[in-house]
Amino acid sequence: MSPSLLRILALIRKEFLAVLKDPRSRFIIFLPPILQCMIFGYAASFDLNSVPYAVLNQDHSAASTDFLSRLDGSGVFRRRADLDRTKDVSAWIDSSRALVVIRIDQDFGRRLVAGETAQVEVIADGRNSNTAGTALGYLGAVVDNFNADWRSRHRQPAPPIRIVTRSWYNPNLDSRWSMIPSLIGTLTMMGTLMLTALSVAREREQGTFDQLLVTPFTPVEIMVGKAVPNMVIGLTQSTTILLVAQFWFHIPFVGSFVVLYAGLGLFLMAAVGLGLFVSSIAMTMQQAMLYAFLLVMPFALLSGLTTPITSMPEFLQSAMAINPLRYALDLTKRVYLEDAGFAQLLSDFLPLTIIGVVTLAGAAWLFSRRLA
């Protein structure tokens, strides 16, 4: 074995020992991905479990009672109050006790029986307009159901055209199925980039980096010694999240592990490269931490994790061509849910390879320049 390889192996061993020997830091490497995966998995959803509502029913006909009982039976709408006066409406909305207030006019039942169109007035709390929109969507579904039943019971013609919706790869359109596979890349990037950046900064702050420099190690050897253990830790974190996704959240993995890990390997090259890049700029741990954070934030927010890339302004879309996470997200989701292969994922593999090689080589160059 060449002496260079031996030296690198020794460094890798040292790096692993440094990270894994302290039980607290062992804990902090594996706990956050699991915890974050749970939090994101359960919290990051635009579906609503319950919509508290109040009703101002001025009609009291059989039709309006039927309508409201359907709402209560939907499992989502929870009636918090029956209001008597219009001026009570604002109190319920303002205090957030009701997300929507439904007002039924006194001629609701009469108009329905006469075959006319009847109105339901809905006031929604727009403090979170996204939530309000979702609640109104649910209400629309209840109304559609009511309408269909009313028509068939009163022999009115059914709507002439019906849209049947189906969904590929995620039959129930569960937002968790989209979110959790995306976390494999996102959480791994956060963890690995910060760990890499901090591991060099810590040695620098504690003075052990200077000791490394007086050994026969070349800068490239030192860098490889830092990069490999962090990539291995990153892959372990990815695997942890993959296991949580499959065995805790029961999201079926339909793809190929070879394709997935090939993509993750390239992605981790980029993540570790960026971490080393940060560490060559940062002089202290605080700087490493904060710069890493400033780099990760835009990459994570603009990766397509929370909002689609195609909805972003043009210049941001082009800027995101260099974001390794957006390719990793696309790749993991498509392998996980759609069983996409290398041929379909060329548009992810190609940029990931380029970004991985360029960042790692760039970091090596910066690293050795800072050391020289």
């Binding site: 959803s45 479990n49 508290p52 006031i123 929604a124 939530t131």
Partner: protein
């Protein structure tokens, strides 16, 4: 010299030292000024839930003049781009290769059933992005409804029940309205907890805290000197967000500015308290930074009602949110900004935050006193 005067001198000297340390470290300035600006721009311009043009693969098994005119309605819609394909297998291949976002299937009996009074079309979406898929389903209603309305004419009307909705507090449905108040909370969390989490731990790691032990400094004085500079930095971040909300995104501020400032200050105290407590407890910068991320940033982002509504979480997660200060802060900010000074929302939330701030101060002071004596 009177002991009181000496105390103030010590606090002043230490605060000055801390402030200089902030000013001389480019990363502190980056997090105090560049971070809020970056978040404002990212949230203001980068995040949008609107779906731009959707491309749909159309399989026309009917091949009648009716189906052709329905496809025409999709082509005319500004939301859809249409690609004609011959089979569903072909459509699925397009979707898998991201050449199409979904498919429209017009079955072979479409025209016959339309004239009989009950036609059906199928919309197939790619569920890999569930949110976008749902939006596409909703968009597809448009051209179909329009087509059937022009075809069926007056013989069919919507209803019998129709919904007339009104969005209070955000009439134009502008997502900046709820992002800006949440952003204030996020920015204060980062500045307050993230930076300070490393501050005391750094002094432990470098041994400079031991140098302070031999001085007459007391625990409270030490903490005050750590609080004040970062409090100032946090308020700069708050001010930047406030200005951006007013002049960049034109989010209405319906409550009183005084209450908004008060709420921000109290929340900042809570964030600072968490940061300092973590820092004092773990004594390691690496651990402190990771813990601060887990305990403050992540909850502020995910579990506060800022992006994802608390009502969409399962009961046990919602239970956890009651222990998290960000939840109360987001409710306060959103209400003060959009609804106004609603007493029944403002006072309970403010009260909880104030109690949290006081408790954190007391605990941090006790822990610090124990550690340094």
């Amino acid at each position: 010299m009177r002991p009181g005067a000496a105390k103030w001198r010590r606090i002043r000297a230490l605060t000055l030292k801390e402030t200089r340390q902030i000013l001389r470290d480019p990363s502190s300035i980056a997090i105090g000024v560049i971070f809020p600006l970056m978040m404002i721009l990212l949230f203001g311009y980068g995040l949008s839930l609107d779906v731009s043009r959707v491309s749909v693969a159309v399989v026309d098994e009917d091949a009648s003049s009716d189906s052709a005119s329905l496809i025409g309605a999709f082509q005319l819609s500004p939301y859809f781009g249409v690609t004609a394909v011959h089979s569903m297998a072909e459509a699925k291949t397009l979707v898998m290769n991201r050449k199409a976002d979904g498919a429209l299937l017009i079955p072979s009996d479409f025209s016959r059933r339309w004239h009989a009074g009950g036609a059906e079309v199928q919309i197939l979406v790619n569920g890999t992005d569930a949110n976008q898929a749902r939006i596409m389903q909703a968009y597809a209603q448009g051209p179909v409804a329009q087509w059937s309305a022009t075809r069926a004419g007056a013989s069919f009307s919507a209803g019998p029940v129709i919904v007339v909705d009104r969005l209070w507090f955000n009439e134009s449905n502008d997502s900046h309205y709820f992002l800006v108040p949440g952003l204030i909370v996020l920015v204060m969390t980062i500045i307050g907890a993230f930076l300070t989490a490393m501050v005391v731990a750094r002094e432990w790691e470098r041994g400079t805290l031991e140098a302070l032990f031999v001085t007459p400094m007391r625990a409270g004085e030490f903490l005050a000197s750590k609080f004040l500079p970062y409090f100032g930095l946090g308020m700069i971040g708050f001010l930047l967000c406030l200005l951006a909300g007013q002049f960049l995104f034109h989010v209405p501020l319906r409550g009183s500015v005084a209450l908004l400032c008060l709420a921000s200050m109290i929340y900042l105290l809570v964030a600072l308290g968490i940061g300092l407590l973590v820092s004092t407890l773990v004594k390691s910068q690496f651990l402190a930074s990771q813990l601060a991320m887990l305990l403050t940033f992540l909850p502020a982002m995910m579990l506060s009602g800022f992006l994802y509504d608390l009502r969409s979480m399962p009961a046990f997660i919602r239970g956890i949110t009651y222990a998290l200060p960000a939840r109360y802060a987001v409710a306060l900010m959103q209400t003060l900004y959009l609804a106004g000074d609603v007493g029944s929302v403002v006072w309970p939330n403010l009260g909880v935050l104030a109690a949290m701030a006081a408790a954190l101060m007391i605990v941090t002071r006790l822990v610090t006193r124990k550690r340094i004596s």
